[in-house]
Symmetry: C2
Subunit: 402 residues, 2 copies
């Protein structure tokens, strides 16, 4: 059985992933689709709107056969570290290919770009540092540095978001010396920032806006989202709520107010004196979004600030991340769910795995799981205690099987 790996978040705001997954299956002609999925918090530094178990179910009903959890420590990171965690997980479980969406759509261009990147790597880093010193944000400086070493060619423009992420996957495969074959398909534009829904592949921003403003899905959104996603959204709302940064605002205020500058400095993502800016502004905002707009500068991008807030909320320190930065094999692989096909494939792989495959949080006492547990605890906090307990029980059950 040939297995194709996907790297997904399955947040209804990021519909692109669902699309990719369906398309990739046809294109790669794989027997099994194995997704590595972010858990409670997403790469852009946001709580997932519904929990990982609900998103696992949606994924399984939409054609994914195996859902693995991307460890939290890699999930809320810039592209390179995110990619490294995802590829290392897929490599550990033994998929044959990885398929991702990109604006480019041609995998050879990615490989060629990697060769060119390697031969100009020193130059790349020094140019990026220079732009960082001039006050550019990390993504801006990276794009300019890619430009300087000729990686914003017509064939593959590393100024486009999905190309950048895809390039990180290819880099991770090469650098981990993995035998995984990368593949890419053209990503259909999802017009990320459009504010109204008027086509069937809905934009993330407009669905988000609806959810927050009306607290429910309009018919237009329901039509734009896959059925199972809609079902899971409603089902989760009945048990809990739709998670949003605003729910966590009071906790962030407490932490910023009661922690010293020195304590805040230990938090991953707390860079360049951001802790001072946090303390100066914490009392001025009436909401999380207001606080964000007070904090945002050219240098501190929205995403970067949100990621730092995830790490503050979950007490994730620079030391925590540094411990996993250089790791090439994950200490375990966490199985969240599978179909019967997936189960068959997992059985065929199980004996040759070099790391433990676990499905229950209590099956390991590795430090990485302790961090995972903090992320879960923080994520579920806005839910009333008695409901929260029921949701957390999912962490110590076996995998979801559909």
């Amino acid at each position: 059985m040939r297995a194709c790996g996907l790297i997904v978040e399955y947040n209804p705001f990021h519909n692109g992933h669902l699309y990719h997954q369906e398309a990739s299956r046809e294109q790669t002609d794989a027997d099994v689709t194995v997704a590595v999925m972010s858990g409670s918090f997403l790469q852009r530094g946001e709580p997932a709107i519904i929990d990982k178990f609900s998103r696992t179910k949606a994924a399984l009903y939409h054609g994914v056969d195996v859902v693995l959890e991307l460890p939290f420590i890699y999930a809320v990171q810039y592209a390179d570290l995110f990619a490294k965690g995802a590829i290392a997980t897929l490599d550990a479980i033994g998929v044959d290919t990885v398929c991702f969406g990109s604006e480019s759509g041609r995998i050879d261009d990615f490989s060629n770009h990697y060769e060119q990147f390697k031969s100009h790597e020193t130059q790349f880093h020094s140019v990026r540092q220079q732009f960082l010193n001039e006050g550019d944000s990390f993504p801006q400086a990276s794009t300019k540095a890619y430009d300087a070493i000729g990686l914003r060619s017509q064939e593959l423009d590393l100024g486009q978001p999905n190309n950048i992420l895809g390039f990180s996957y290819v880099k991770a495969i090469k650098e981990l010396h993995s035998s995984i074959q990368p593949d890419t398909i053209t990503r259909t534009k999802s017009h990320y920032h459009d504010e109204t829904i008027n086509y069937s592949i809905a934009s993330a921003t407009s669905i988000r806006k609806e959810l927050l403003e009306y607290g429910q899905l309009t018919e237009a959104s329901q039509n734009a989202l896959p059925d199972e996603t809609v079902r899971q959204l409603h089902h989760y709302a009945d048990k809990a709520l739709w998670h949003d940064w605003e729910h966590y605002f009071p906790y962030l205020q407490l932490l910023v107010q009661t922690h010293s500058h020195r304590q805040l400095q230990h938090i991953h993502g707390m860079i360049e004196g951001l802790e001072y800016r946090l303390k100066q502004t914490v009392d001025q905002a009436d909401s999380f979004r207001e606080w964000m707009s007070l904090l945002k500068t050219k240098r501190y991008t929205w995403t970067r600030l949100q990621r730092m807030f995830v790490h503050l909320l979950t007490n994730t320190t620079k030391d925590d991340v540094a411990a996993y930065d250089e790791l090439t094999t994950p200490p375990y692989v966490r199985l969240l769910g599978m179909t019967q096909t997936g189960q068959q494939w997992i059985r065929s792989k199980k004996k040759s795995l070099e790391v433990p495959l676990i499905s229950n949080m209590q099956q390991t006492d590795h430090d990485l799981m302790a961090i995972e547990e903090r992320a879960t605890d923080a994520y579920y906090l806005p839910i009333e205690p008695h409901k929260r307990r029921l949701l957390k029980q999912q962490e110590i059950k076996g995998p979801i099987i559909v």
Copy 2:
């Protein structure tokens, strides 16, 4: 002008203090009454039901002439340290006497007991340690140790709560070599644990119960409380809310869940592996009170647990407290409010003060004020941001003058 010092909390639950203050004034025949008052959190480890500014107003309308703030670091502590902070503050401002309520009511007995205590101090400590080792709580062990060295005599029983506190004041006066003269009056029983209000000096427990269960004061409570206290309770509720531990429950959960055992161990009051017990029980309770009953043992008394929670919430470490444990003179005295008589007295004292007298939080950058600020921030957290900002502005205004 002869000034009499009082040590108070002015929480409507602790009506005894109001009573003392009125009585003491008559008895001591002082010209000025100077109260040192706890700020946001009280000695028993609770958030004050209304803020320190409202309580200052109530105190000033009820006959106190000067209200000083007992620094937070001393306010939420066992009797000896609480007493030390309070006496050091009154000594720094220069009162002539300190008057407190006690079951005994005879000051000579306190002085005599102090002499006896000093000559048996080593024995006292070793007996107390022995009972602590056997699993007794701190107050239980202390009482037994007082018993062992003969300090539970008929004249003055150091097993009674107000006698214990009073004895701490006398000890602090002696040990700080203060020239303050202690004085005591008999404390009218307030039947602390009675559950219904049926006499005019209402019990704290019954008023508290009413407030929590009905969210308002019944007529019986209103009659039992001084007018100005009732007015301040209503006035504060209009602007904010009546503070209760339940408001802080989610924050405590976050902190226990996301902090490591080692991080929790730094918190003042986190003793004897309590951090393990906290982590084991955090997910089991639906409310703060439920959590407390899961945590409470013979050894971990309700008060001791609540104090620890105050320190966890405000991020007050063992090091923070250790830095002030041995201090004999406060770094500053904070003036919260005064009457015109009080103002006159303050003027007469101002020149001879050895420490700065401040009324605005921004007048000092001492570490002690940084801790105070954390306590204020944590205290006001359950209030919506825009209302909270207005309340906090009081911290940077001059003293309240009535």
